[in-house]
Structures are given as structure tokens and as C-alpha cells.
Subunit: 222 residues, 2 copies
């Protein structure tokens, strides 16, 4: 499978790239607005993987080129960039490429982090509204701490929640996710349930800030 | 400590009553609008506890009487009853009794359950707005499945999130919570962070509905 991480030079893109390259045989492609940054990020990830004993090939391109022929495209960009990133690649998307969105809308004040969805109801539905009709949108990876993903010496042992209206695409992404060691995919229902999933992102940050010894917090449902 | 569970004849009240009576030495008092219901619930809980080898005394009263001289009062009622339940007992509350609120505002449609806070921003802040100034309000127990609490043969091994603006009251409730075997209290910050905590309630129901083999779902942060 060809797995394209748009904005893959950022924190969550890095974490996903390293884990997918370490634990699966899929082609991992880093996309960025700047092809040089994509290329050097890919090289740096290869080096990190080599230091952990994984011989993996990661490539880096400008976002539209990275999305070309991809089976899955992850919009690993901040929430205010999801729609422009998507529209910059849409002409290159395969008809049935699955678009994965991990972003959540947050604000911060003196009390902590809060969930502030866009008017579409959630960032996930914002992406779905902007996506071509033929491309299924799946929400996933919202609740993963980037630093924990990127540290390959850490066992994960956590869950990620998956949202989707297209049953086949949702099942495919659940299967893909569980190829990462220690990561369990749990379905959270259709995209209309995204706000409750995205709300977990600020909650995890608040809990990590309020309790000694907790950081890069994940969650396990049991 | 005198621990009063208003609405303690309901599901979450039952679960908390059984766990506190089984695992701690605190006085557990069941409150209800109907004193007969409170009394027979208390008897039935005592019987359940006896079946599990716990000799415990639980008493039942009408809500105002149950709240009398309580150190902690849990508003174990549906969200649309929190303010009238609180106002029905307020004249009987000790000056420094801690008011604990576990309710979350939910709606349900064909996609699943959704978080719908009242205009106060959360049920937790709604309670805080209605509480006397001298009585600290703490949010806790939002994310506990009643059925799991009430089944004393199950080990918990899960977390509950605690919200509070009063540091001493929050610490006291965290300590109280951790007297229940297998329940860890994690702080989620001031009451202003309550919406993200309450959002976990519909999320847990959605996940349980969408994944085979999961029910009475809890959460562990790690």
C-alpha cells in the first residue's frame, strides 16, 4: 500500500512515518509544501529507523506529488490547513484513495485546552465536506501523542479511535492501524460522532498537565 | 466521612454506593425524592454487599435528610435534575460539604450519542453556578459505567477524572476515590475544563456500541 503523509514533516506525521516504516511493509511517502523539507525529513526518518535496526525506504515530495497514486493520504497538518492542503492535492488523488484526518480544533486559555470545533461540527466533517465524493474520509489518530509515536524505543499499548461513513474504508484503515505494534483500532461510529473523538485531544493534554509523571499521554478503553 | 448519594437509587448511585461500602469505612447514605425508595434501595444494596462478603450498613432517606451533615454530597441524578435536586437540599448542607457532580449532557440520534452541554458550558459548571458559595463543587465519576461499578465481582482497573477549582476539596475527593480498589483519580484541571471530561461519556457509549465484545466501557490513561 502507498501511504502518503501530507505535512509529514510535522510532529504527528513524523511519528506515523516512523511507526508505519518500522512495523509494516507499506511505502511511506512524506509530503510537504516545500519539497526540500520533505526530502530531508524522509532522510532523517530513515536514519532514525536505521538507528533502531529498521532498514526502511522513505521518500519525500511536494504534497501533490506525494499524494499521487497513494492508497491512503493522511492530512497530518494543523486544523486550519486541512482544507487548503486537501485542495492542493485533489487533482492528483486516485479515485478511491482514502483520506485520513487526525486533526482536532483546540484553543488554550489559562485553565487549559478546550475543544473548539469549526462550524462544520468537527475538523473531521470539515475534511469530509471538502473531499471529492469518490474519496472516503476516515478520522483516525486524533488521540495519539506525537512524541510517543516518534520514540521507537517505547511500546505503545494504546488505542486509537476510527470514524467513518464508508464501511469498507473504515475496516481497511482499522486493519492498517493494527499493523503498528501495540496500537489497537476501535471504531467510534460515523463521521457525525467526530466531535466526541476530537474532544479527547485537549482532554489528554489537560490530564498530562495536571498530573505529575504523565506526559505524551495515550488512552486505552477497557 | 459521611457520603451522601442523592438519587442513589439510580444506576450510578447504586454502583458508587456498593463500591464505597465494599472498599471503605465511610458512612454511605442513599437519598431519593421518595424516602421509601431510598430505604428499600439501601436494604437491597446491603444484601448485595452481604452476598459478596461485605458486612456494611447503608441507610436511606429523602434527599434533604440524606444531605444533612454530609461531608460529601454526590448529585447522582440525570443532568436535567441536578439543579432542582441541589436546591432541594441546600438548606441542609453543611457549610463546607463538597458537592460532587458526575452528570453529563447527552443526546442521541441515529449515528450515536453526542455531547450537548447546557448553556452554562457543562453540567459541572451548571452545578457550580447553582451551589452555595461556601460549598466547593468537584466534578468526578463522569466516565464510569454504572453496570461495571455495581458488579462487585469485576475488578475495575480504570481511571476517573476529577475537576475542581478548590484545590483542597479536589485533593480530598481524589483521595476518597482512590479508596475504591482499582480506581485511579486523575485531575483534569479547573471546572472550566469540564466539557472535555463530560464528552467522554457519549464517546464511551459510542465505542461500546461500535465494537464487538466491549460493554460497560471504562478508560485508562497511560
Amino acid at each position: 500500500m502507498r501511504l502518503s503523509l501530507l505535512g509529514g514533516t510535522g510532529d504527528i506525521g513524523k511519528g506515523l512515518a516512523l511507526r508505519f516504516a518500522a512495523d509494516t511493509d507499506h511505502d511511506v511517502i512524506i509530503g510537504s509544501r516545500d519539497p526540500d523539507k520533505a526530502h530531508s525529513a524522509a532522510e532523517s526518518y530513515e536514519q532514525t529507523l536505521a538507528e533502531h535496526g529498521h532498514e526502511a525506504k522513505i521518500t519525500g515530495f511536494e504534497n501533490p506529488m506525494a499524494a499521487d497514486r497513494a492508497d491512503c493520504v493522511v492530512l497530518a497538518v494543523p486544523p486550519y490547513h486541512v482544507t487548503d492542503t486537501l485542495s492542493s492535492v485533489v487533482s492528483r488523488l486516485s479515485d478511491d484513495a482514502v483520506i485520513i484526518t487526525p486533526a482536532a480544533g483546540l484553543t488554550r486559555d489559562e485553565d487549559g485546552f478546550h475543544y473548539r470545533p469549526p462550524s462544520a461540527g468537527s475538523v473531521t466533517t470539515l475534511v469530509a465536506d471538502a473531499a471529492p465524493e469518490s474519496n472516503p474520509v476516515v478520522g483516525a489518530f486524533h488521540n495519539l501523542a506525537a512524541g510517543r509515536l516518534a520514540d521507537l524505543s517505547l511500546e505503545l499499548g494504546i488505542d486509537t479511535l476510527v470514524l467513518g461513513d464508508d464501511r469498507n474504508a473504515t475496516e481497511m484503515i482499522c486493519t492498517l492501524i493494527e499493523e503498528i505494534d501495540g496500537l489497537r483500532a476501535l471504531k467510534a461510529g460515523p463521521l457525525a460522532n467526530a466531535a466526541e473523538v476530537e474532544s479527547l485531544t485537549p482532554l489528554l493534554i489537560n490530564i498530562a498537565q495536571q498530573n505529575d509523571g504523565l506526559h505524551d499521554l495515550g488512552v486505552q478503553f477497557k
